[in-house]
Protein backbone atom coordinates (compact mmCIF):
# COMPACT_ATOMS: atom_id res chain seq x y z
CA UNK A 1 0.00 0.00 0.00
CA UNK A 2 2.70 2.46 1.05
CA UNK A 3 4.88 1.58 -1.93
CA UNK A 4 1.88 2.01 -4.27
CA UNK A 5 1.25 5.52 -2.93
CA UNK A 6 4.94 6.33 -3.07
CA UNK A 7 5.12 5.16 -6.69
CA UNK A 8 2.11 7.27 -7.64
CA UNK A 9 3.60 10.31 -5.93
CA UNK A 10 6.97 9.74 -7.59
CA UNK A 11 5.30 9.40 -10.97
CA UNK A 12 3.57 12.74 -10.47
CA UNK A 13 6.89 14.57 -10.06
CA UNK A 14 8.10 14.29 -13.70
CA UNK A 15 4.61 15.26 -14.90
CA UNK A 16 4.71 18.30 -12.60
CA UNK A 17 8.10 19.25 -14.00
CA UNK A 18 6.68 18.83 -17.53
CA UNK A 19 3.73 21.08 -16.70
CA UNK A 20 5.98 23.83 -15.36
CA UNK A 21 8.30 23.53 -18.37
CA UNK A 22 5.47 23.65 -20.93
CA UNK A 23 4.04 26.75 -19.25
CA UNK A 24 7.46 28.39 -19.32
CA UNK A 25 7.92 27.52 -23.00
CA UNK A 26 4.49 28.79 -24.01
CA UNK A 27 5.00 32.10 -22.24
CA UNK A 28 8.68 32.68 -22.98
CA UNK A 29 9.54 31.04 -26.28
CA UNK A 30 6.58 32.11 -28.39
CA UNK A 31 7.36 34.61 -31.13
CA UNK A 32 7.06 38.23 -30.03
CA UNK A 33 8.33 40.22 -27.09
CA UNK A 34 6.41 39.48 -23.87
CA UNK A 35 7.05 42.98 -22.57
CA UNK A 36 5.70 44.53 -25.76
CA UNK A 37 2.63 42.29 -25.47
CA UNK A 38 2.10 43.28 -21.83
CA UNK A 39 2.54 46.98 -22.39
CA UNK A 40 0.52 46.92 -25.60
CA UNK A 41 3.46 48.48 -27.53
CA UNK A 42 3.25 51.58 -25.31
CA UNK A 43 6.31 53.19 -23.76
CA UNK A 44 9.70 54.07 -25.13
CA UNK A 45 12.56 51.65 -25.61
CA UNK A 46 14.26 52.67 -22.33
CA UNK A 47 11.15 51.89 -20.27
CA UNK A 48 10.69 48.58 -22.06
CA UNK A 49 14.34 47.72 -21.39
CA UNK A 50 13.91 48.55 -17.70
CA UNK A 51 10.82 46.34 -17.39
CA UNK A 52 12.69 43.59 -19.22
CA UNK A 53 15.59 43.88 -16.75
CA UNK A 54 13.25 44.01 -13.72
CA UNK A 55 11.55 40.82 -14.81
CA UNK A 56 14.81 39.13 -15.71
CA UNK A 57 13.76 38.83 -19.34
CA UNK A 58 17.13 40.13 -20.55
CA UNK A 59 18.90 37.06 -19.18
CA UNK A 60 19.70 34.04 -21.39
CA UNK A 61 16.67 31.79 -21.73
CA UNK A 62 18.35 28.91 -19.86
CA UNK A 63 19.04 31.14 -16.84
CA UNK A 64 15.44 32.41 -16.93
CA UNK A 65 14.21 28.82 -16.93
CA UNK A 66 16.38 27.78 -13.97
CA UNK A 67 15.26 30.87 -12.06
CA UNK A 68 11.64 30.03 -12.79
CA UNK A 69 12.10 26.42 -11.61
CA UNK A 70 13.81 27.59 -8.44
CA UNK A 71 10.97 30.07 -7.77
CA UNK A 72 8.32 27.39 -8.27
CA UNK A 73 10.15 25.00 -5.93
CA UNK A 74 10.02 27.70 -3.25
CA UNK A 75 6.27 28.04 -3.88
CA UNK A 76 6.77 31.50 -5.35
CA UNK A 77 4.62 31.95 -8.46
CA UNK A 78 5.97 35.41 -9.27
CA UNK A 79 4.49 38.89 -9.10
CA UNK A 80 1.68 40.38 -11.15
CA UNK A 81 2.82 42.81 -13.77
CA UNK A 82 -0.42 44.76 -13.47
CA UNK A 83 -0.56 45.60 -9.78
CA UNK A 84 2.59 44.11 -8.26
CA UNK A 85 0.51 41.68 -6.22
CA UNK A 86 2.25 38.34 -5.55
CA UNK A 87 0.54 35.73 -7.72
CA UNK A 88 0.23 33.22 -4.87
CA UNK A 89 -1.56 35.71 -2.63
CA UNK A 90 -3.89 36.68 -5.51
CA UNK A 91 -4.78 33.00 -5.90
CA UNK A 92 -5.16 32.51 -2.15
CA UNK A 93 -7.68 35.34 -1.77
CA UNK A 94 -9.80 33.98 -4.62
CA UNK A 95 -9.46 30.29 -3.85
CA UNK A 96 -12.42 30.05 -1.49
CA UNK A 97 -14.90 31.47 -4.02
CA UNK A 98 -13.79 29.00 -6.69
CA UNK A 99 -13.63 26.06 -4.28
CA UNK A 100 -17.19 26.78 -3.10
CA UNK A 101 -18.41 26.97 -6.69
CA UNK A 102 -16.56 23.87 -7.90
CA UNK A 103 -17.50 21.69 -4.91
CA UNK A 104 -21.13 22.80 -5.15
CA UNK A 105 -21.23 22.01 -8.86
CA UNK A 106 -19.53 18.65 -8.39
CA UNK A 107 -21.86 17.66 -5.56
CA UNK A 108 -24.95 18.76 -7.46
CA UNK A 109 -23.75 17.07 -10.65
CA UNK A 110 -22.90 13.80 -8.93
CA UNK A 111 -26.11 13.52 -6.88
CA UNK A 112 -28.41 14.51 -9.76
CA UNK A 113 -26.45 12.52 -12.32
CA UNK A 114 -26.32 9.30 -10.28
CA UNK A 115 -30.04 9.53 -9.41
CA UNK A 116 -31.05 10.13 -13.02
CA UNK A 117 -28.69 7.45 -14.35
CA UNK A 118 -29.77 4.77 -11.89
CA UNK A 119 -33.50 5.39 -12.40
CA UNK A 120 -32.94 5.41 -16.18
CA UNK A 121 -31.15 2.07 -16.03
CA UNK A 122 -33.76 0.45 -13.80
CA UNK A 123 -36.59 1.77 -15.98
CA UNK A 124 -34.80 1.07 -19.23
CA UNK A 125 -36.54 2.34 -22.43
CA UNK A 126 -39.23 4.10 -20.39
CA UNK A 127 -40.36 7.66 -21.01
CA UNK A 128 -38.21 8.75 -18.05
CA UNK A 129 -35.17 7.02 -19.54
CA UNK A 130 -35.56 8.69 -22.94
CA UNK A 131 -36.33 12.07 -21.35
CA UNK A 132 -33.42 11.96 -18.90
CA UNK A 133 -30.92 10.81 -21.50
CA UNK A 134 -32.07 13.47 -23.96
CA UNK A 135 -31.64 16.15 -21.30
CA UNK A 136 -28.21 14.66 -20.47
CA UNK A 137 -26.93 14.75 -24.04
CA UNK A 138 -28.34 18.26 -24.43
CA UNK A 139 -26.51 19.22 -21.22
CA UNK A 140 -23.21 17.98 -22.64
CA UNK A 141 -23.86 19.85 -25.89
CA UNK A 142 -24.93 23.27 -24.59
CA UNK A 143 -22.25 25.94 -24.11
CA UNK A 144 -21.85 26.53 -20.37
CA UNK A 145 -21.91 30.34 -20.73
CA UNK A 146 -25.17 30.20 -22.68
CA UNK A 147 -26.81 27.96 -20.06
CA UNK A 148 -25.70 30.46 -17.43
CA UNK A 149 -27.18 33.39 -19.32
CA UNK A 150 -30.51 31.58 -19.82
CA UNK A 151 -30.67 30.72 -16.11
CA UNK A 152 -29.97 34.38 -15.32
CA UNK A 153 -32.72 35.47 -17.72
CA UNK A 154 -35.39 33.18 -16.24
CA UNK A 155 -34.60 32.95 -12.57
CA UNK A 156 -33.02 36.32 -11.88
CA UNK A 157 -34.53 38.75 -14.41
CA UNK A 158 -38.01 37.30 -15.14
CA UNK A 159 -38.98 35.31 -12.02
CA UNK A 160 -36.68 37.27 -9.67
CA UNK A 161 -36.26 34.21 -7.43
CA UNK A 162 -32.52 34.65 -6.97
CA UNK A 163 -30.13 37.59 -7.17
CA UNK A 164 -28.43 38.27 -10.50
CA UNK A 165 -24.70 38.45 -10.93
CA UNK A 166 -22.14 38.99 -8.19
CA UNK A 167 -20.87 37.40 -5.01
CA UNK A 168 -22.97 39.57 -2.68
CA UNK A 169 -22.28 38.76 0.96
CA UNK A 170 -21.15 35.27 -0.08
CA UNK A 171 -24.41 33.68 1.05
CA UNK A 172 -25.94 30.60 -0.56
CA UNK A 173 -28.51 32.43 -2.68
CA UNK A 174 -25.72 34.00 -4.72
CA UNK A 175 -24.17 30.60 -5.28
CA UNK A 176 -27.30 28.89 -6.66
CA UNK A 177 -27.19 29.99 -10.32
CA UNK A 178 -23.40 29.72 -10.85
CA UNK A 179 -23.45 26.33 -9.16
CA UNK A 180 -26.24 25.01 -11.40
CA UNK A 181 -24.52 26.46 -14.49
CA UNK A 182 -21.25 24.73 -13.70
CA UNK A 183 -23.02 21.58 -12.50
CA UNK A 184 -24.95 20.90 -15.73
CA UNK A 185 -22.05 19.26 -17.54
CA UNK A 186 -20.90 16.97 -14.68
CA UNK A 187 -24.55 16.01 -14.07
CA UNK A 188 -25.03 15.10 -17.72
CA UNK A 189 -21.79 13.11 -17.94
CA UNK A 190 -22.45 11.31 -14.65
CA UNK A 191 -26.01 10.45 -15.68
CA UNK A 192 -24.86 8.88 -18.94
CA UNK A 193 -22.03 6.99 -17.28
CA UNK A 194 -24.04 5.72 -14.30
CA UNK A 195 -26.81 4.51 -16.61
CA UNK A 196 -24.45 2.45 -18.74
CA UNK A 197 -22.51 1.08 -15.72
CA UNK A 198 -25.74 0.22 -13.93
CA UNK A 199 -27.07 -1.60 -16.99
CA UNK A 200 -23.88 -3.60 -17.23
CA UNK A 201 -23.99 -4.58 -13.56
CA UNK A 202 -27.72 -5.39 -13.64
CA UNK A 203 -27.12 -7.98 -16.35
CA UNK A 204 -24.63 -9.93 -14.24
CA UNK A 205 -25.19 -13.32 -12.68
CA UNK A 206 -24.97 -12.26 -9.03
CA UNK A 207 -27.82 -9.81 -9.59
CA UNK A 208 -29.92 -12.59 -11.10
CA UNK A 209 -29.11 -14.69 -8.06
CA UNK A 210 -30.14 -11.89 -5.72
CA UNK A 211 -33.42 -11.49 -7.59
CA UNK A 212 -33.97 -15.25 -7.67
CA UNK A 213 -33.67 -15.59 -3.93
CA UNK A 214 -36.57 -13.18 -3.67
CA UNK A 215 -34.89 -9.96 -2.56
CA UNK A 216 -36.89 -6.80 -3.10
CA UNK A 217 -36.00 -4.82 -6.22
CA UNK A 218 -34.83 -1.74 -4.35
CA UNK A 219 -32.52 -3.86 -2.17
CA UNK A 220 -31.00 -5.47 -5.26
CA UNK A 221 -30.49 -2.08 -6.92
CA UNK A 222 -29.39 -0.01 -3.96
CA UNK A 223 -27.35 -2.60 -2.08
CA UNK A 224 -26.05 -5.10 -4.60
CA UNK A 225 -25.80 -3.26 -7.90
CA UNK A 226 -24.96 0.28 -6.75
CA UNK A 227 -21.70 -0.67 -5.06
CA UNK A 228 -20.14 -1.96 -8.25
CA UNK A 229 -21.81 0.40 -10.66
CA UNK A 230 -20.53 3.46 -8.84
CA UNK A 231 -16.80 2.69 -9.12
CA UNK A 232 -16.38 4.22 -12.60
CA UNK A 233 -18.48 7.20 -11.49
CA UNK A 234 -16.02 7.93 -8.69
CA UNK A 235 -13.06 7.50 -11.00
CA UNK A 236 -14.29 10.13 -13.43
CA UNK A 237 -14.45 12.71 -10.64
CA UNK A 238 -10.74 13.17 -11.31
CA UNK A 239 -11.27 14.12 -14.93
CA UNK A 240 -14.32 16.20 -13.99
CA UNK A 241 -12.03 18.49 -12.00
CA UNK A 242 -10.31 19.56 -15.22
CA UNK A 243 -13.58 20.38 -16.94
CA UNK A 244 -14.83 22.15 -13.79
CA UNK A 245 -11.75 24.38 -13.76
CA UNK A 246 -12.24 25.15 -17.47
CA UNK A 247 -15.93 25.75 -16.88
CA UNK A 248 -15.15 28.01 -13.92
CA UNK A 249 -13.31 30.36 -16.28
CA UNK A 250 -16.54 30.97 -18.24
CA UNK A 251 -19.01 30.67 -15.34
CA UNK A 252 -17.14 33.13 -13.14
CA UNK A 253 -16.96 35.59 -16.02
CA UNK A 254 -20.73 35.59 -16.54
CA UNK A 255 -21.62 35.82 -12.88
CA UNK A 256 -18.86 38.26 -11.92
CA UNK A 257 -17.76 35.63 -9.40
CA UNK A 258 -14.51 36.70 -7.71
CA UNK A 259 -12.68 33.41 -8.14
CA UNK A 260 -9.61 32.08 -9.91
CA UNK A 261 -11.44 31.66 -13.21
CA UNK A 262 -12.25 35.33 -13.32
CA UNK A 263 -8.74 36.20 -12.20
CA UNK A 264 -7.39 34.24 -15.15
CA UNK A 265 -9.66 35.99 -17.67
CA UNK A 266 -8.78 39.41 -16.22
CA UNK A 267 -5.07 38.66 -16.44
CA UNK A 268 -5.43 37.25 -19.95
CA UNK A 269 -7.24 40.40 -21.07
CA UNK A 270 -4.52 42.55 -19.47
CA UNK A 271 -1.80 40.26 -20.90
CA UNK A 272 -0.44 39.99 -17.36
CA UNK A 273 1.96 37.16 -18.23
CA UNK A 274 3.33 36.35 -14.73
CA UNK A 275 -0.24 36.06 -13.42
CA UNK A 276 -1.33 33.88 -16.38
CA UNK A 277 1.70 31.68 -15.85
CA UNK A 278 0.99 31.30 -12.13
CA UNK A 279 -2.72 30.59 -12.53
CA UNK A 280 -2.15 27.97 -15.25
CA UNK A 281 0.50 26.21 -13.13
CA UNK A 282 -1.79 26.33 -10.09
CA UNK A 283 -4.75 24.83 -11.98
CA UNK A 284 -2.66 22.06 -13.53
CA UNK A 285 -1.16 21.18 -10.14
CA UNK A 286 -4.64 21.10 -8.59
CA UNK A 287 -5.71 18.70 -11.32
CA UNK A 288 -2.68 16.45 -10.78
CA UNK A 289 -3.18 16.24 -7.04
CA UNK A 290 -6.91 15.51 -7.35
CA UNK A 291 -6.10 12.68 -9.73
CA UNK A 292 -3.45 11.39 -7.39
CA UNK A 293 -6.05 11.26 -4.60
CA UNK A 294 -8.56 9.53 -6.87
CA UNK A 295 -5.90 6.99 -7.91
CA UNK A 296 -5.05 6.24 -4.32
CA UNK A 297 -8.70 5.90 -3.34
CA UNK A 298 -9.35 3.30 -6.08
CA UNK A 299 -8.16 0.48 -3.92
CA UNK A 300 -10.46 1.38 -1.06
CA UNK A 301 -13.46 1.34 -3.38
CA UNK A 302 -12.53 -1.66 -5.45
CA UNK A 303 -10.72 -4.41 -3.53
CA UNK A 304 -10.06 -6.18 -6.87
CA UNK A 305 -7.40 -3.54 -7.55
CA UNK A 306 -4.19 -4.59 -5.90
CA UNK A 307 -1.55 -2.25 -4.67
CA UNK A 308 1.32 -4.08 -6.22
Amino acid sequence: MFSYILRKVLYTIPVLWGVVTVVFLVINIVPGDPVAIMTGQRGDEATLAKIRADMGLDLPIGVQYLRFLEQICRGDLGTSYRNNEPVSSAIRTRLWATAKLAFGALLLGTVLGVAAGVVSAVKKYSLFDYGAMFVAIAGVSAPVFWVGLLLLLFFAYILKWVPGVGYGDGSFKYLILPMITLGVRPAALTARLSRSCMLEVLSQDYIRTAKAKGLKKHVVVMKHAMKNAMIPVVTIIGTQVSSLLSGAVLTESIFAWPGIGRLSVDSLLARDLPMIRGVVVFMAVTFLFTNLLVDISYGFLDPRIRYD
Binding site: V140, L245, V280
Partner: protein, 299 residues
Protein backbone atom coordinates in the same frame (compact mmCIF):
# COMPACT_ATOMS: atom_id res chain seq x y z
CA UNK B 1 -0.10 -17.62 -48.36
CA UNK B 2 0.52 -13.99 -47.59
CA UNK B 3 -1.46 -13.09 -50.66
CA UNK B 4 -4.34 -15.24 -49.52
CA UNK B 5 -4.12 -13.68 -46.10
CA UNK B 6 -4.26 -10.22 -47.58
CA UNK B 7 -7.24 -11.06 -49.76
CA UNK B 8 -8.98 -12.47 -46.77
CA UNK B 9 -8.14 -9.42 -44.73
CA UNK B 10 -9.48 -6.96 -47.25
CA UNK B 11 -12.65 -9.03 -47.66
CA UNK B 12 -13.23 -9.05 -43.91
CA UNK B 13 -12.49 -5.34 -43.64
CA UNK B 14 -14.97 -4.58 -46.44
CA UNK B 15 -17.64 -6.58 -44.66
CA UNK B 16 -16.86 -4.92 -41.36
CA UNK B 17 -17.45 -1.45 -42.76
CA UNK B 18 -20.60 -2.60 -44.56
CA UNK B 19 -21.93 -4.26 -41.40
CA UNK B 20 -21.08 -1.15 -39.42
CA UNK B 21 -23.06 0.92 -41.90
CA UNK B 22 -26.05 -1.43 -41.53
CA UNK B 23 -25.83 -1.14 -37.73
CA UNK B 24 -25.46 2.63 -38.03
CA UNK B 25 -28.53 2.88 -40.25
CA UNK B 26 -30.65 1.06 -37.71
CA UNK B 27 -29.65 3.51 -34.95
CA UNK B 28 -32.22 6.30 -35.05
CA UNK B 29 -30.24 8.85 -33.05
CA UNK B 30 -27.16 8.21 -35.18
CA UNK B 31 -29.14 8.78 -38.37
CA UNK B 32 -30.66 11.89 -36.81
CA UNK B 33 -27.14 13.18 -36.14
CA UNK B 34 -26.12 12.31 -39.68
CA UNK B 35 -29.00 14.26 -41.21
CA UNK B 36 -28.54 17.16 -38.77
CA UNK B 37 -24.92 17.48 -39.92
CA UNK B 38 -25.87 17.11 -43.57
CA UNK B 39 -28.40 19.93 -43.12
CA UNK B 40 -25.82 22.05 -41.34
CA UNK B 41 -23.28 21.50 -44.11
CA UNK B 42 -25.95 22.50 -46.62
CA UNK B 43 -26.64 25.68 -44.64
CA UNK B 44 -22.92 26.49 -44.45
CA UNK B 45 -22.28 25.89 -48.15
CA UNK B 46 -25.33 27.81 -49.36
CA UNK B 47 -25.23 30.47 -46.62
CA UNK B 48 -25.17 33.45 -49.04
CA UNK B 49 -28.25 32.11 -50.82
CA UNK B 50 -30.15 31.04 -47.70
CA UNK B 51 -29.53 34.12 -45.57
CA UNK B 52 -32.33 36.63 -46.12
CA UNK B 53 -29.99 39.61 -45.53
CA UNK B 54 -26.31 40.50 -45.73
CA UNK B 55 -24.94 39.43 -42.28
CA UNK B 56 -22.88 42.63 -42.01
CA UNK B 57 -25.44 45.09 -43.32
CA UNK B 58 -26.78 47.53 -40.74
CA UNK B 59 -30.42 47.78 -41.73
CA UNK B 60 -30.81 51.01 -39.73
CA UNK B 61 -29.89 52.83 -42.94
CA UNK B 62 -32.69 51.30 -44.98
CA UNK B 63 -35.36 50.37 -42.46
CA UNK B 64 -34.83 53.14 -39.92
CA UNK B 65 -34.67 52.93 -36.13
CA UNK B 66 -37.24 50.11 -35.97
CA UNK B 67 -34.54 47.79 -37.29
CA UNK B 68 -32.58 48.26 -34.05
CA UNK B 69 -33.10 45.35 -31.64
CA UNK B 70 -36.32 44.39 -33.42
CA UNK B 71 -38.05 41.38 -31.82
CA UNK B 72 -38.52 38.24 -33.94
CA UNK B 73 -41.15 38.91 -36.63
CA UNK B 74 -42.05 37.63 -40.12
CA UNK B 75 -39.51 40.11 -41.54
CA UNK B 76 -36.72 39.06 -39.19
CA UNK B 77 -37.40 35.56 -37.88
CA UNK B 78 -34.73 35.81 -35.18
CA UNK B 79 -34.97 39.57 -34.74
CA UNK B 80 -32.17 42.10 -35.21
CA UNK B 81 -29.26 43.21 -33.06
CA UNK B 82 -28.33 46.64 -31.70
CA UNK B 83 -26.56 47.50 -34.98
CA UNK B 84 -29.68 46.61 -36.95
CA UNK B 85 -28.21 43.43 -38.42
CA UNK B 86 -30.47 40.46 -39.15
CA UNK B 87 -29.66 37.79 -36.54
CA UNK B 88 -30.86 34.85 -38.64
CA UNK B 89 -28.52 35.83 -41.47
CA UNK B 90 -25.66 36.07 -38.99
CA UNK B 91 -26.51 32.70 -37.41
CA UNK B 92 -26.61 31.12 -40.89
CA UNK B 93 -23.22 32.60 -41.83
CA UNK B 94 -21.84 31.66 -38.39
CA UNK B 95 -22.20 27.98 -39.31
CA UNK B 96 -19.28 28.38 -41.74
CA UNK B 97 -16.93 29.69 -39.06
CA UNK B 98 -17.87 27.03 -36.49
CA UNK B 99 -17.60 24.12 -38.90
CA UNK B 100 -14.31 25.39 -40.32
CA UNK B 101 -12.74 25.70 -36.87
CA UNK B 102 -14.21 22.35 -35.79
CA UNK B 103 -12.84 20.51 -38.81
CA UNK B 104 -9.47 22.29 -39.08
CA UNK B 105 -8.68 21.90 -35.37
CA UNK B 106 -9.59 18.21 -35.66
CA UNK B 107 -7.18 17.87 -38.59
CA UNK B 108 -4.41 19.48 -36.50
CA UNK B 109 -5.14 17.17 -33.56
CA UNK B 110 -5.15 14.12 -35.87
CA UNK B 111 -1.85 15.19 -37.44
CA UNK B 112 -0.23 15.38 -34.00
CA UNK B 113 -2.14 12.67 -32.13
CA UNK B 114 -2.04 9.81 -34.63
CA UNK B 115 1.74 9.73 -35.31
CA UNK B 116 2.61 10.23 -31.62
CA UNK B 117 0.11 7.60 -30.46
CA UNK B 118 1.27 5.21 -33.19
CA UNK B 119 4.93 5.55 -32.23
CA UNK B 120 4.21 5.15 -28.51
CA UNK B 121 2.08 2.07 -29.04
CA UNK B 122 4.26 0.39 -31.64
CA UNK B 123 7.75 0.99 -30.30
CA UNK B 124 6.95 0.74 -26.58
CA UNK B 125 9.91 1.11 -24.21
CA UNK B 126 11.42 4.55 -23.72
CA UNK B 127 9.60 5.98 -26.76
CA UNK B 128 6.30 5.05 -25.12
CA UNK B 129 7.45 6.37 -21.73
CA UNK B 130 8.45 9.70 -23.25
CA UNK B 131 5.31 10.18 -25.33
CA UNK B 132 3.02 8.99 -22.52
CA UNK B 133 4.71 11.44 -20.18
CA UNK B 134 4.07 14.25 -22.67
CA UNK B 135 0.43 13.17 -23.06
CA UNK B 136 -0.02 13.25 -19.26
CA UNK B 137 1.59 16.69 -19.07
CA UNK B 138 -0.74 18.20 -21.69
CA UNK B 139 -3.71 16.37 -20.17
CA UNK B 140 -3.05 18.07 -16.82
CA UNK B 141 -3.93 21.51 -18.17
CA UNK B 142 -7.53 22.68 -18.07
CA UNK B 143 -8.32 22.59 -21.80
CA UNK B 144 -10.02 25.96 -22.07
CA UNK B 145 -7.50 27.88 -20.00
CA UNK B 146 -4.54 26.45 -21.87
CA UNK B 147 -6.02 27.37 -25.25
CA UNK B 148 -6.84 30.84 -23.90
CA UNK B 149 -3.25 31.26 -22.68
CA UNK B 150 -1.80 30.29 -26.07
CA UNK B 151 -4.13 32.65 -27.97
CA UNK B 152 -3.52 35.50 -25.50
CA UNK B 153 0.25 35.09 -25.54
CA UNK B 154 0.35 35.00 -29.34
CA UNK B 155 -1.72 38.20 -29.18
CA UNK B 156 -3.33 37.41 -32.50
CA UNK B 157 -6.89 36.08 -32.46
CA UNK B 158 -6.94 35.11 -36.16
CA UNK B 159 -8.69 31.94 -37.26
CA UNK B 160 -5.45 30.12 -37.95
CA UNK B 161 -4.16 30.82 -34.42
CA UNK B 162 -7.46 29.75 -32.86
CA UNK B 163 -7.74 26.40 -34.63
CA UNK B 164 -4.03 25.65 -34.26
CA UNK B 165 -4.14 26.42 -30.53
CA UNK B 166 -7.20 24.20 -30.05
CA UNK B 167 -5.56 21.43 -32.11
CA UNK B 168 -2.33 21.73 -30.10
CA UNK B 169 -4.24 20.91 -26.93
CA UNK B 170 -6.91 18.48 -28.14
CA UNK B 171 -4.64 15.86 -29.78
CA UNK B 172 -4.19 14.10 -26.45
CA UNK B 173 -7.32 11.94 -26.54
CA UNK B 174 -6.62 10.94 -30.16
CA UNK B 175 -3.07 9.94 -29.21
CA UNK B 176 -4.32 7.83 -26.29
CA UNK B 177 -6.77 5.91 -28.45
CA UNK B 178 -4.20 5.40 -31.24
CA UNK B 179 -1.58 4.24 -28.75
CA UNK B 180 -3.88 1.62 -27.24
CA UNK B 181 -4.76 0.29 -30.70
CA UNK B 182 -1.18 0.07 -31.90
CA UNK B 183 -0.19 -1.64 -28.69
CA UNK B 184 -2.65 -4.47 -29.19
CA UNK B 185 -2.12 -4.76 -32.94
CA UNK B 186 1.67 -4.87 -32.93
CA UNK B 187 1.56 -8.43 -31.57
CA UNK B 188 -0.69 -9.71 -34.38
CA UNK B 189 0.58 -12.31 -36.82
CA UNK B 190 0.16 -10.17 -39.90
CA UNK B 191 2.46 -7.57 -38.35
CA UNK B 192 4.99 -10.28 -37.53
CA UNK B 193 4.72 -11.46 -41.14
CA UNK B 194 5.25 -7.94 -42.46
CA UNK B 195 8.34 -7.61 -40.24
CA UNK B 196 9.62 -11.03 -41.34
CA UNK B 197 9.54 -10.14 -45.04
CA UNK B 198 11.59 -7.09 -44.18
CA UNK B 199 9.14 -4.25 -44.80
CA UNK B 200 10.31 -0.86 -43.52
CA UNK B 201 8.89 0.15 -40.13
CA UNK B 202 7.04 3.15 -41.56
CA UNK B 203 5.27 0.96 -44.12
CA UNK B 204 4.19 -1.44 -41.36
CA UNK B 205 3.05 1.43 -39.16
CA UNK B 206 1.07 3.46 -41.65
CA UNK B 207 0.09 0.97 -44.35
CA UNK B 208 -0.60 -2.16 -42.34
CA UNK B 209 -1.53 -1.20 -38.80
CA UNK B 210 -3.04 2.26 -39.25
CA UNK B 211 -6.02 1.17 -41.41
CA UNK B 212 -7.04 -1.22 -38.64
CA UNK B 213 -7.00 1.52 -36.01
CA UNK B 214 -9.24 3.87 -37.98
CA UNK B 215 -12.55 2.98 -36.32
CA UNK B 216 -11.75 4.18 -32.77
CA UNK B 217 -9.81 7.17 -34.10
CA UNK B 218 -12.78 8.25 -36.25
CA UNK B 219 -15.13 7.89 -33.27
CA UNK B 220 -12.83 9.88 -30.99
CA UNK B 221 -12.32 12.59 -33.60
CA UNK B 222 -16.08 12.92 -34.23
CA UNK B 223 -16.84 13.21 -30.53
CA UNK B 224 -14.00 15.74 -30.26
CA UNK B 225 -15.47 18.08 -32.89
CA UNK B 226 -18.30 18.96 -30.52
CA UNK B 227 -15.98 20.01 -27.72
CA UNK B 228 -13.78 21.94 -30.16
CA UNK B 229 -16.81 23.92 -31.35
CA UNK B 230 -17.75 24.62 -27.72
CA UNK B 231 -14.19 25.78 -26.99
CA UNK B 232 -14.15 28.10 -30.01
CA UNK B 233 -17.48 29.58 -28.92
CA UNK B 234 -16.09 30.08 -25.40
CA UNK B 235 -12.99 31.81 -26.76
CA UNK B 236 -15.08 34.15 -28.90
CA UNK B 237 -17.43 34.78 -25.95
CA UNK B 238 -14.51 35.91 -23.78
CA UNK B 239 -13.14 38.07 -26.60
CA UNK B 240 -10.16 35.90 -27.57
CA UNK B 241 -11.54 34.24 -30.70
CA UNK B 242 -13.31 35.72 -33.70
CA UNK B 243 -13.36 39.51 -33.57
CA UNK B 244 -16.23 41.88 -34.47
CA UNK B 245 -17.94 42.12 -36.89
CA UNK B 246 -17.40 38.41 -37.71
CA UNK B 247 -20.67 36.47 -37.48
CA UNK B 248 -19.36 34.12 -34.78
CA UNK B 249 -21.94 32.42 -32.58
CA UNK B 250 -19.90 32.85 -29.40
CA UNK B 251 -19.29 36.52 -30.14
CA UNK B 252 -23.00 37.08 -30.80
CA UNK B 253 -23.90 35.60 -27.40
CA UNK B 254 -21.28 37.81 -25.80
CA UNK B 255 -22.67 40.93 -27.52
CA UNK B 256 -26.24 39.97 -26.72
CA UNK B 257 -25.77 39.15 -23.04
CA UNK B 258 -26.02 42.75 -21.84
CA UNK B 259 -29.48 43.02 -23.44
CA UNK B 260 -30.89 40.02 -21.55
CA UNK B 261 -31.68 42.07 -18.47
CA UNK B 262 -33.61 44.59 -20.56
CA UNK B 263 -35.72 41.94 -22.25
CA UNK B 264 -34.02 41.64 -25.66
CA UNK B 265 -33.33 37.92 -25.27
CA UNK B 266 -33.20 36.97 -28.96
CA UNK B 267 -29.69 38.25 -29.66
CA UNK B 268 -28.10 35.77 -27.24
CA UNK B 269 -30.69 32.97 -27.53
CA UNK B 270 -30.54 31.94 -31.19
CA UNK B 271 -26.75 31.67 -31.63
CA UNK B 272 -26.67 29.50 -28.49
CA UNK B 273 -29.31 27.22 -30.00
CA UNK B 274 -27.18 26.97 -33.14
CA UNK B 275 -24.15 25.90 -31.09
CA UNK B 276 -26.20 23.37 -29.19
CA UNK B 277 -27.68 21.97 -32.42
CA UNK B 278 -24.23 21.55 -33.94
CA UNK B 279 -22.61 19.95 -30.91
CA UNK B 280 -25.64 17.71 -30.36
CA UNK B 281 -25.44 16.54 -33.98
CA UNK B 282 -21.76 15.61 -33.66
CA UNK B 283 -22.43 13.85 -30.34
CA UNK B 284 -25.28 11.81 -31.86
CA UNK B 285 -23.08 10.93 -34.81
CA UNK B 286 -20.09 10.04 -32.60
CA UNK B 287 -22.20 7.90 -30.26
CA UNK B 288 -23.78 6.19 -33.27
CA UNK B 289 -20.40 5.51 -34.88
CA UNK B 290 -19.09 4.11 -31.60
CA UNK B 291 -22.02 1.68 -31.34
CA UNK B 292 -21.88 0.80 -35.04
CA UNK B 293 -18.14 0.19 -35.10
CA UNK B 294 -18.34 -1.52 -31.71
CA UNK B 295 -15.60 0.60 -30.22
CA UNK B 296 -14.90 0.69 -26.53
CA UNK B 297 -13.18 3.98 -25.84
CA UNK B 298 -10.69 4.16 -23.05
CA UNK B 299 -11.37 6.96 -20.63
Amino acid sequence: MTENGNNNDSGVTGNLWYEAWLRFRRNRLAMLGFFMIAALLGVAVFAPRLAPYDPFKQLLWTEGIKAKLAAPSPDHWMGTDAYGRDIMSRVIHGSRLSLQIGLLATVVSLLIGVPLGAMAGYFGGWVDDLISWFINVIFAFPFMLFVLAIVAVLNNPSMIVVFTAIGLVSWVSIARVTRAQFMSLREREYVEAAKAIGLPTWTILFKHILPNTLAPVIVQATLGIGSIILTEAGLAFLGFGAQPPAPSWGLMISDGQQYLATGQWWWALFPGMAIMYTVLAFNFLGDGLRDALDVRLKR
